[in-house]
Amino acid sequence: MNGLHVDSIIKSYGNNQVLTDIFISCNPGEIVGLLGRNGSGKSTLLKIIFGSLNADTKFVKVGDKIINGVNDSRNLINYLPQDGFLPNHIKIKTIINLFCDKYSGEIISENPLIRPLVNKKCNKLSGGEKRLLEILLITYSKANYVLIDEPFNGIAPVYKDEIKRHIQEQSKFKGFIITDHDYRNILDVASRVLILHDGAIQEIKNREELIYWGYLPQAT
């Protein structure tokens, strides 16, 4: 499998330049954690990488294939937005079959949290159940690279460890870029941590650097 290479991303909203010449790379086996304050451009960056949002300039490729839009990223990059994406009118088992191959589909269907829900439609699930299902679907999907926007948001603490375990298992076969405000879980699971600050990316080596870059308060 080839690496995900993201380069020269510039994005402005009107006169406000949100992303300035961003460079990120991700290889299979890597879990890249992306931190940043509210409004720093994390979701914007993930959407640009995925191809669902245009940028002023961008260069995204997986191996030799250049990704311009969502048509190009099929089975290469999948993205889970922070507000969810499951249509209400389909059964869970249909969605699992669409997203995953047979083996991964069985892993999700046999999960004790998902098994009781398999024959239900998405509109019968609670918000937390939907979110958990979405995370498992995207993690076990056929794509080589998975971008997840706030996977720990709205999830009970007892399930966060399970989510981390699934991500770490699947990271043997694919690359992940994950962003969340629950920085402790991101630091726990990520093999490399980046912070988006003033439109630029900085690599974080330790917790003190999060304070230095203004992500955590001084007294923490």
Binding site: F50, G51, S52, G69, V70, N71, S73, R74, N75, N78, Y79, L80, P81, D83, G84, F85, L86, P87, N88, H89, I90, T94, L98, F99, I138, S141, A143
Partner: protein
């Protein structure tokens, strides 16, 4: 293909209902139910329902289809093509 069917499932019933209602107004003009009016109505109603359902009400659903490799342009193209074909069929019957 299955993903397109799933996408279209949300549009077909409301589009058909509104189109049939408009077709029934043809009774006032011609005295009989008109498939031609229904087909022409479907040609315009289906894209309007698509816009309301997916661009206004459930815009996040697009990400589900993006992850399956279907862009917004291709989904719109399929709506226009399918409603065009349905219109032609109803006009020619």
């Amino acid at each position: 293909m299955q993903s397109l069917l799933i996408f279209y499932k949300k549009l077909i019933i409301p589009s058909a209902i509104f189109s049939i209602m408009i077709g029934m107004t043809g009774i006032m003009a011609t005295g009989t139910f008109s498939l031609k009016y229904t087909g022409l109505a479907y040609l315009f109603i289906c894209p309007m329902v698509h816009f309301f359902v997916y661009d206004v009400r459930y815009s996040n659903d697009y990400y589900f289809y993006y992850n399956l490799g279907l862009s917004r342009k291709s989904l719109w193209a399929s709506t226009l093509v399918i409603s065009g074909i349905a219109c032609l069929i109803l006009i020619l019957i």
